[in-house]
Amino acid sequence: MSGYGLNCEEETKFAFEKAGGIADIVHLNDLIASPAMLKDYDILAFPGGFAYGDDTGSGKAYANKFKNHLSKELEEFLARDTLVIGICNGFQIVTSLGILPGALTFNSGGKYLDRWLDLKVEGRSPWLTGIKTISVPIAHGEGRYVIDEEDYRVLKKNKQIAFTYTHGKICKFQNLEANPNGSMHDIAGVLAYNGRVLGLMPHTERAMFAHQSPTWQKNKKMVKSEWGEGILIFKNAINYFLNKKR
């Protein structure tokens, strides 16, 4: 998806393509004009950005417009064996759409923050196959995940917590705290629809190349591949469909 201030669509498309998929950038208004086109796709991605400048609360205005015109189509899309991802502002949009539990609000530090960190995989999802930990960057001002205790217990039981922030190699390397925004229960990403819908604050597409990592300069001579850890998420999504076809 694109439009109204979303801004990570080009690199997200690139990541899906490098993972073996075919991706198109579709403006929200074009989808509203031809909603049937959703039927042609297997994966719906809400990329990062600043839709409507976060006015009235991040993700709210974009989700309002989406819901207002495309509720039925979204329902139909989710009824098929499809995947959805919301990254950063996309996560905020997807929670506002109501297809993921919880909500995102101001970082506990009160400021926008761009830094790298470490994630531990907690849940079960086609997006997460074979991944235990992963180091990626965040860049957000409203990334503090909020959920009430009852819903949290359900999430936990159903393995719907995708990632938690953890003190891994990046935090050790740069002596940083694990949870940068005060998220409840250290939650960085959540799942729904049997793990088919993933929302997360960190930007996996900004970790698709090896040289994007802050540790790259130190390990330059050891790094053989051009690709970074973030590309795995995109590969998992494409492989989910490739494996199905086999």
Binding site: F14, N64, D114, Q212, P214
Partner: protein, 995 residues
């Protein structure tokens, strides 16, 4: 009717703690108990109750918030404080809310619907009305915002805040006047200085035209046999302004020191240098579009061009730091979108020069002491936030930047904002850097609407509840409006070949953009009544020169207009035809059929009288600083590292998104110790491994001794910073930003000449062409002190040099921090006793006179050898030695890698010079022992001194002869380096969260 929707947070609101903390610092510690922050949406509408409820629900995230209508959710507090915008000030949130309502309820856009937003703070505690005043002052800028305070009694009775609407109401005035010019020279001078007299007897504000210019204009209209209209005169003032025509850089200068005549500083030294370099380079010339467009363009590879432009936004940032900075950054983004057929912004840069943060002097703009200047700290916080909002919201990585302090930036801060762009070299078979409006093309304006924003101090007669201040003084940026048209133009319309030319609306608004584009086809005709307005009642001259933000002007062929307009509509962008390009040789403007301007383009652009300016000799000498006694410099090094001109500023780098577009290679912060890098690398094309290097440098304090050294140091350092990170001299260009003061002063003019001579000498020696530049010549503050005493503060003459280079392979990028224990440490280049105006001398309290000189020949050989070493993968780290000298460089490389260093610095030089001299041309590198032979061989002919080794133990020691002159450790240095930044981020600054 008017309703208020309140949205109140549920559960923990982290902003509360941050506000409390910052209010406690106002002396309210212990007095505050409870704070609630509520979003208020004041809506003028004709909606049914049920619809209003739907709206309220759409504005609320039920997990985080609850809503109430016309009734505050909580009233058990002592005060309510409301902060809202003044009439006419851009309210971005209100635009979004209006869009949401229209979409949600499927109502027509023209519907009678107006939204105003504000923040309401409910505050409890043992606080007085006086305390609330302090809080209110800390929360708003009276130029653009209003605060209202309500006590307990008021809202406990009503449970609601007043339903007043901050609407703009303009009094009716005659739309157009003729300005008689058959008047005395004194009157002409007055018109030029103070502006056109309105029929009501008020002068409209400075045209900034001197008597010579006014006489030239008088002559022109005498020939035409008529008086000019106000529109014509305002238009000339805009086009001939220093800002647009760079009158000082274009003037003839007689250098009285050697009797030589300089035809034009710009043509002789800047363009002259570039022309010579390009000629010498021949086939290897990488310049494609220099000095002719909104930004400079150079080759990136066979497929793409890369562009760069750096602007200043100093005066607006002094008045409204947030608004000034955000419009600075989104403004320079538009320079990129307006390059050639439209380049895509791929990186932002920033640079800040502020007064000292502990400067508590009270200064006022007026003799009556009613217009206070903001203190440096407030300016800093606002400016940082402005660049944050502009860059982050636009999805452009803020890759490169710096912050400097000097007491003389107290009167005017310098705020630099730059943007790098990317554009395919060929678009639909056309060279993308070329554009040409055709006679018959529609003149189309896209983006925001026009209000009274940024009109030169015009008096703004608005009749509202309690608004007295002009909404005209400042502009507020709306990055999302701009992002929408930027994407629609650069990512869609450009490829569809829907327009022939494009330029941005900056200074002078459409008066400048249209008349500039009119040169391409030799004429334009505009119908001002077609320009979309924010509110009714603007006079034609105001519409013509308004600097309302977020607008581009395009030349769209008539037969393509429908397709173009449909595309813009689908992207949520307003596009309007306001006239037609012609080949009449004239710029013609009318309003409702009445002709207001009919002027020859030739006169408008070239009628400006050329000036001759004169220099006078100057000389600055300073006592030498008294060097410290004894042989230990450990404490002194630690003290110097803590200075905010040298320390890290991760609190800024961290809050600017530098990784969007997935292009990051060498970040603003590097290594385990997160030191600020002097050069940054990113790759703008996802599928290519080519990369762009950015760096910048400035040494304003060197101007206290000699501006030639100041400029030479800036050029040498910018180039060295870039090469140290992996750039190639053969593909490196530079940009100049001159910020001067009192430029008609003959001595300062001589200093300007000297700085330009340095620019020419160094650029031509290194073969690094200037591709774009900007000057801001009057950075002086003339105001009053606390007792009404006149105060003048001028900035130190400042030249910012920015460098942009292309690297064929990003894998060659090299970061500045040490990597491995056991690596050998070398210093490339020669250290001399050049402590003049150094950070060290400044700390000691006297500047001295031996300011660093640039040895072009030696430095060039060093840089070429460095390039070679990087190409051959022989280096582990590479750090350019800058402010603070060798000892600071060593401290940064060590703490950056969280590794120790054992150094022995031999030679006869005194220890202060060894450690702190700022001699140019030096780079601190580390090398794996297995490569030491190779590097020493490669460095033959270059001064390359092996100084010691990187160590695991974290100890940082330097010996000189028998003496241990520095003995410290990396953990301590880490703490000191980050102390300034930690103290800034601990304050929480603003509690605005996302933006």
């Amino acid at each position: 009717m008017i309703s208020r929707i309140y949205v109140t947070p549920k559960g923990l609101d982290v902003r509360v703690g941050l506000y409390k903390k910052s209010w406690n610092e106002l002396g309210l510690s212990g007095k505050l108990s409870r704070i609630t922050i509520i979003d208020s949406y004041l809506i003028e509408h004709s909606l049914a109750k049920a619809d209003l409820l739907r709206v309220a629900s759409a504005l609320t995230n039920p997990i985080l918030e609850g809503y109430s209508i016309d009734k505050l959710s909580k009233t058990n507090c002592d005060f309510a404080l409301e902060i809202g915008f003044k009439p006419g000030v851009t309210d971005n949130v209100a635009h979004t809310v209006k869009e949401t309502i229209i979409d949600l309820l499927h109502i027509k856009e023209e519907a009678d619907l107006v939204v105003y937003t504000s923040k309401v703070f409910l505050i409890s505690g043992t606080i007085s009305a006086e305390d609330i005043k302090k809080i209110a002052f800390s929360l708003h800028n009276p130029l653009i915002e209003t605060s209202y305070t309500f006590n307990k009694k008021y809202f406990q009775k009503t449970a609601n805040l007043p339903l007043h609407v901050p609407e703009v109401v303009l009094s009716k005035t005659s739309p157009v006047i003729r300005v008689p010019l058959s008047v005395s020279s004194a009157e002409l001078t007055k018109i030029g200085k103070e502006g056109i007299m309105d029929p009501q007897g008020f002068r409209r504000g400075p045209l900034a035209l001197d008597l010579d210019s006014m006489k030239t204009i008088q002559e022109y209209f005498t020939k035409l046999g008529r008086d000019p209209t106000d529109v014509e005169l305002e238009s000339l003032a805009q086009t001939w302004s220093e800002h647009c025509k760079h009158t000082i850089f274009a003037s003839e200068i007689e250098d009285t020191r050697d009797g030589k005549i300089i035809d034009s500083l710009y043509k002789t030294y800047i363009k002259g240098a570039t022309n010579l370099i390009r000629k010498k380079k021949g086939a290897a010339d990488f310049c494609v579009s220099v000095f002719s467009d909104n930004a400079g363009g150079i080759a990136f590879d066979d497929e793409y061009l890369i562009t760069h432009k750096v602007e200043t936004h100093n005066s607006p940032s002094a008045l409204d730091p947030f608004g000034g900075a955000i419009t600075g950054i989104v403004g320079v983004n538009r320079d990129t979108i307006g390059f050639g057929l439209g380049a895509k912004p791929v990186a932002n840069t920033y640079g800040f020069c502020f007064g000292e943060l502990d400067d508590k002097r009270k200064l006022f703009r007026d003799r009556e002491l009613t217009q206070p200047m903001l203190p440096p700290k407030r300016i800093m916080e606002g400016v940082i936030k402005g660049i944050n909002a502009g860059g982050n919201c636009s999805g452009i990585p803020t890759v490169s930047g710096f912050i400097k302090f000097d007491a003389r930036y107290r009167g005017k801060p310098l705020v630099f904002a730059g943007t790098v762009g990317l554009i395919p070299r060929n678009i639909n078979g056309r060279h993308s850097e070329e554009k040409q409006a055709q006679a018959g093309d529609y003149i189309v304006v896209v983006g925001g609407r026009v209000g009274l924003d940024g009109i030169h101090g015009a008096t703004f007669s608005s009749v509202t509840l309690d608004s007295v201040s002009p909404a005209t003084a400042v502009q507020i940026g709306d990055p999302i409006t701009q992002k929408k048209f930027s994407d629609a133009i650069v990512k869609e319309a450009r490829a569809m070949n829907l327009y022939n030319s494009i330029t941005d609306n900056g200074a002078g608004g459409i008066s400048c953009s249209v008349s500039e584009m009119a040169k391409e086809c030799s004429g334009a005709k505009v119908d001002l009544e077609k320009v979309p307005l924010k509110y009714p009642g603007l006079r034609p001259w105001e519409i013509w020169i308004s600097e309302s933000q977020e607008r581009m002007t395009l030349a769209v062929p008539q037969k393509k207009w429908e397709v173009f307009n449909n595309l813009m509509k689908r992207r949520g962008v307003e596009a309007t035809v306001i006239g037609e390009f012609t080949d009449s040789g004239k710029c013609a403007v009318s309003y409702n059929g009445r002709i207001l301007m009919d002027m020859d383009l030739e006169f408008l652009h070239n009628g400006f009288p050329k000036k001759r300016l004169f220099t006078a000799p100057y000389r600055h000498t300073h006592p030498n600083p008294k060097m410290p006694k004894g042989s230990s410099r450990t404490k002194i090094l630690e003290q110097l590292l803590s200075k905010n001109n040298i320390a890290g500023f991760s609190f800024i780098s961290d809050q600017y998104d530098h990784e969007v577009q997935a292009s990051s290679v060498l970040k603003p912060l590097s290594g385990p110790g997160r030191i600020n890098t002097d050069a940054q690398v990113f790759k703008p094309v996802l599928a290519s491994s080519r990369a762009v290097v950015l760096s910048s440098a400035l040494y304003p304090s060197y101007s206290d001794i000699n501006t030639y050294a100041m400029a030479a140091g800036a050029l040498d350092t910018a180039v060295r910073n870039a090469v140290s990170a992996g750039a190639k001299l053969s593909h490196l260009a530079i940009l100049d930003n001159f910020c001067w003061c009192s430029s008609y002063n003959k001595k300062l003019l001589a200093e300007l000449v000297d700085a330009l001579k340095a620019c020419y000498d160094i650029a031509t020696a290194y073969g690094t062409p200037f591709i774009s530049g900007k000057d801001s010549m009057f950075n002086d503050f003339q105001g009053y002190g606390e007792k009404g005493n006149p105060v003048k503060i001028s900035i130190p003459p400042t030249l910012l040099i920015s460098a942009i280079g292309v690297m064929p392979n990003l894998q060659k990028t090299i970061s500045p921090e040490f990597k491995n224990a056991g690596d050998l440490i070398y210093l490339l280049g020669e250290t001399k006793d050049e402590l003049g105006a150094s950070e060290y001398s400044k700390m000691l309290g006297s500047l001295g006179n031996n300011v660093p000189q640039v040895d072009l020949k030696k430095n060039l050989t060093t840089y070429q050898a460095l390039e070679n070493a990087i190409e051959k993968n022989l280096l582990e780290s590479s750090l350019s030695v800058n402010s603070g000298g060798f000892a600071i460089a060593l401290a940064k490389a060590s703490l950056g890698g969280m590794l120790g260093a054992k150094i022995n610095f031999e030679g006869n030089l005194n220890i202060d010079a060894k450690l702190f001299s700022e001699s140019q041309g030096r780079i601190l590198v580390s090398v794996s022992p297995k490569n030491s032979k190779k590097i020493e061989k490669l460095m033959r002919g270059v001064i390359c001194t092996k100084l010691g080794t990187v160590s695991k133990d974290g100890k940082v020691t330097i010996t000189s002869g028998q003496n241990k002159i520095v003995d410290t450790n990396v953990k301590k240095l880490y703490k000191i380096y980050h102390k300034f930044s930690d103290s800034m981020s601990a304050k929480g600054g603003s509690a605005s969260g996302g933006k």
